[in-house]
């Protein structure tokens, strides 16, 4: 199971947990798993089936290109706002 860090403003959706173990071989599958257990999660993270442009989802230290990003058994997933630089 991958570990997903839940952003503070989404924690009310999942009983206040800071991290949640979720299953799936891809990022999309992990989000499906979260949605199944904590309805409403998907639409906070995705827009029309894509990662919301204002968000960045990191899998094991790299920003995921999309929902097909591979997720391993011991993966760490973080959901954070996207950042610009100067």
């Amino acid at each position: 199971m991958a570990t997903v860090w839940i952003p503070s403003l989404l924690r009310p959706l999942c009983g206040g947990a800071h991290t949640i173990e979720a299953g799936g071989a891809t990022l999309g599958a992990v989000i499906d798993d979260l949605e199944a257990r904590f309805p409403g999660m998907r639409e906070r993270v995705l827009d029309r089936g894509q990662i919301r442009p204002e968000l960045a989802i990191w899998v094991d230290g790299d920003q995921a290109d999309g929902l097909a990003a591979a997720v391993g058994e011991a993966s760490e997933i973080q959901i954070v706002p996207a950042i610009g630089g100067g």
């Binding site: 952003p7 403003l9 706002p81 610009g84 100067g86």
Partner: protein
């Protein structure tokens, strides 16, 4: 302190002349305004004198009738842009808002907001025509302060705006465009554990990047409907894609040619003039050049946010920071998009703190829409946090650098959102500062003080492409698409020379237009030497592979028999068969297939950059003037590819920060008019205001870059505001919670003058 020669490298770490340098010292280099085309017209923009008003009527007839005027355009000439968010590589931009910022549709939201544009035979006639454009306004009350704008009764800039957050959109309309929050651990429990708690509020003003080159763009349409745009930009592809969206034309119809760029610091990442020049050029059938004057640059481009911050931090008697609570309110300007989320994520990054809460608010006000500015969001947050950290250290009677060292982030420390740091060099920076000659030289004399501060900034990855062409004489052309603001052509050419084992003089780098090289995200986020460097390395390795195959065919041996080392191909099965890269090129490229390789990458494995800085100041107790006596920048750069330009980034960032700390600010009257939109009254440091800036390059290689590169450009501007504030405190005994620490502010806070 720079290691001039590192054992594994031949080219990296040396200081060759930059390839574009000769043209820049002789005046030959072409910058944005230097474009001159046959039959070219000159454009000028009509701008709002009001900070907030509804546009009731625009009458361009008198302007259009002026002899010498060829066209006048308004927002009505722009195709309606969709209300969608376009990905431009630098965070996200709402296209309708981007279009509205280029030419106001129905409301003007800040003084300087563009309303119409004129093309004429020369700039003087265009200027006269602009004066003849009549605009009727319905004045609306301006909102100029973020805290005022957050009040429920505040006038709304956009009645359809609802606060966005991960919790979903809010119910009612608001000037608060977004709310960000990060909580880890249990902050209240953490504060309960603390023996010392410090809480303070801070405020900074809007400031500008202050690049010396004003924005300039020239557009020309061919008779078959192809648009060419010349512009000084940090990202030719970003300009292309924004023009495509705003003008509603296919990508295949537009080519953007980046000129040399006279500074950007994040401010040249979004379009202002390009789509307007394109409209005027289309209308007139002639090339049109638009360039801003300095007051337009101040009033109508994208400065960075004024900020309100509240910071509360607690530490144990032993010197361990156990809790932090930070609230950051950032002005977005006229449209959403302040860098507050980056501020939230950088504010506490230098420290490992178990219990933290950070809230950030992105608030629209009637000021120009902010753009990126060097480490966007981080300096103001560090100004607040690093003073509170300093105060904790003082209360605990611990040396401020040692206090930071005791709490430093390390590999594995989790930041906001739970992301763990990879290998970072903050600890090494602090140690280098502690053992620096500067820190170990006592500062003596009255009204003098020494301050330290530390800062963090992300590195960007994003997309880069390069093409490497091996010429028949063995020289190598490097075609890249990352516009070069501060010497990146040199840094990339050096990485290619290193990869191929050839001399730096054998590599000729050039920045290509959008039709001549693969996609490249903007030059920003400290990403080019890192990410485009990876693309260069990839292309270089492909050249090596192809060259090895050619050599194998030439020598009639299997490729597996050939080694490539230090720029020499050698056949392991026949030592007689050995040739340098150049010799082999001469053998195989005169007649065989041309040798071309590309590198196209998404920059993964970004490093993280830290800088620790030491400032000595003297404060004139009678005038309040702060003089910088000595200044040292310590920075982990991963690997310094070209140490001279790495030092240059460190020095330049520090001095830009010194300006921000001491004198720079947007001064507004209560109607939202900027009172100091000139280089005379927007007081950037001159050569006489600063000393030599000492640099200490720390090299903790980024393990995920082939040469260990970390982004260098942005982080040096993060610590100076706080370092100087801490120094002023030591000199005067008074904490400076507002910027700029101008003589007036110093007198007000030290003498109670008001």
């Amino acid at each position: 302190m720079t290691t001039e020669h590192k054992a594994p490298y031949r080219v990296i770490g040396t200081r060759p002349l930059r390839p574009d340098g000769a043209d820049k010292v002789t005046g030959k280099a072409q910058f944005g305004a230097d474009i001159r085309l046959s039959g070219m017209l000159y454009g000028r923009i009509k701008r709002s004198p009001h900070a907030h008003a509804r546009i009731k009527r625009v009458d361009v007839s008198r302007a259009a009738a002026l002899p010498g005027v060829h066209a006048v355009v308004t927002a009505a000439d722009l195709p309606g842009a969709e209300d969608r968010v376009a990905e431009l590589g630098e965070g996200s931009v709402n296209m309708r808002e981007l279009s509205g910022n280029v030419l106001a549709h129905d409301k003007v939201l800040y003084r300087g907001h563009a309303i119409a544009a004129v093309a004429a035979v020369d700039a003087h006639v265009a200027g006269q025509a602009v004066d003849l454009i009549e605009v009727e306004y319905e004045l609306l009350p301006p909102v100029l302060d973020a805290r005022d704008a957050m009040r429920p009764e505040a006038p709304l800039l956009d009645k359809n705006r609802r606060t966005r957050s991960m919790a979903g959109p809010a119910d009612g309309p608001s000037n608060v465009a977004a709310h960000y929050q990060f909580i880890s651990g249990d902050p209240e429990e953490g504060f309960a554990e603390a023996d010392v708690v410090v809480e303070r509020e801070f405020a900074t003003r809007m400031v500008h990047q202050g690049y010396i080159e004003p924005h300039a763009a020239t557009a020309s349409w061919s008779s078959d409907g192809q648009l060419t745009v010349w512009t000084c930009t940090q990202g030719a592809f970003a300009v292309r894609d924004q023009c495509v969206a705003i003008l509603d034309i296919p990508v295949s119809k537009i080519r953007v040619i980046p000129t040399e760029i006279g500074g950007g610091f994040g401010g040249k990442t979004i379009v202002y003039l390009e789509p307007v020049a394109a409209l005027l050029a289309k209308r007139t059938g002639r090339p049109v050049k638009l360039q801003m004057d300095r007051s337009e640059v101040f009033e109508a481009t994208g400065p960075t946010s004024g900020v309100n911050a509240r910071v509360r931090m607690g530490a144990t008697r032993e010197g361990r920071i156990v809790a932090a609570d930070v609230e950051l309110i950032y002005e977005a300007g006229a449209y959403p998009g302040s860098p507050v989320m980056a501020a939230c994520m950088t504010a506490l990054a230098p420290y490992e703190i178990a219990n933290t809460k950070v809230d950030g608010y992105d608030v629209v006000v009637n000021k120009p829409k902010v753009a990126a500015y060097r480490a966007p969001g981080a300096p103001a947050a560090a100004f607040a946090v690093e003073q509170v950290v300093d105060e904790l250290a003082e209360k605990l009677d611990i040396d401020p650098l040692r206090f930071r060292l005791a709490n430093t982030s390390r590999e594995g420390t989790r930041g906001p959102g739970g992301r763990p740091f990879p290998r970072i060099g903050h600890e090494e920076c602090l140690e280098a500062a502690l053992s620096s000659p500067h820190y170990n030289t006592p500062l003596e004399g009255p009204s003098r003080g020494r301050g330290v501060a530390t800062g963090f900034w992300f590195n960007g990855g994003m997309r880069s492409s390069v093409t490497v062409i091996v010429n028949a004489d063995g020289s190598v052309s490097l075609v890249e698409g990352s516009t070069d603001i501060g010497g990146s052509r040199a840094a990339l050419a050096m990485q290619l020379a290193e990869t191929l084992g050839v001399g730096i003089d054998d590599v000729r780098p050039s920045v290509a237009d959008t039709d001549a090289v693969g996609y490249n995200d903007v030059t920003g986020g400290s990403r080019v030497t890192f990410a485009t460097g990876i693309a260069v390395h990839e292309a270089g390795m492909e050249v090596r592979r192809q060259m090895t195959e050619r050599a194998a065919a030439h020598w009639h041996v299997p490729a597996s028999d050939i080694t490539y080392e230090d720029g020499r191909l050698t056949c392991t099965s026949d030592a007689q068969k050995s040739a340098t890269f150049r010799e082999m090129a001469l053998q195989v490229l005169r007649t065989g297939e041309p040798l071309v390789a590309t590198g196209s990458i998404v920059g993964r494995g970004v490093g993280a950059a830290f800088s620790t800085q030491i400032a000595d100041v003297e404060v004139d107790p009678e005038t309040g003037k702060v003089q910088i006596l000595r200044y040292t920048v310590v920075q982990d750069v991963g690997t310094a590819i070209h140490p001279a330009y790495v030092e240059g980034q460190m020095q330049g960032g520090a001095v830009q920060g010194i300006g921000w700390a001491l004198n720079e600010e947007y001064c507004y009257d209560d109607q939202g008019r900027m009172a100091n939109a000139s280089f005379l009254d927007y007081r950037m440091p001159t050569a006489l205001d600063v000393p030599m800036i000492d640099t200490i390059i720390v090299e903790v290689p980024n393990p995920r870059h082939p040469f260990g590169v970390r982004g260098v450009g942005e982080v040096p501007i993060v610590p100076p505001l706080a370092a100087i504030a801490n120094a002023v405190y030591r000199a005067t005994g008074v904490r400076q919670t507002q910027l700029p620490m101008s003589p007036r502010r110093i007198l007000e806070t030290t003498l109670g003058l008001s």
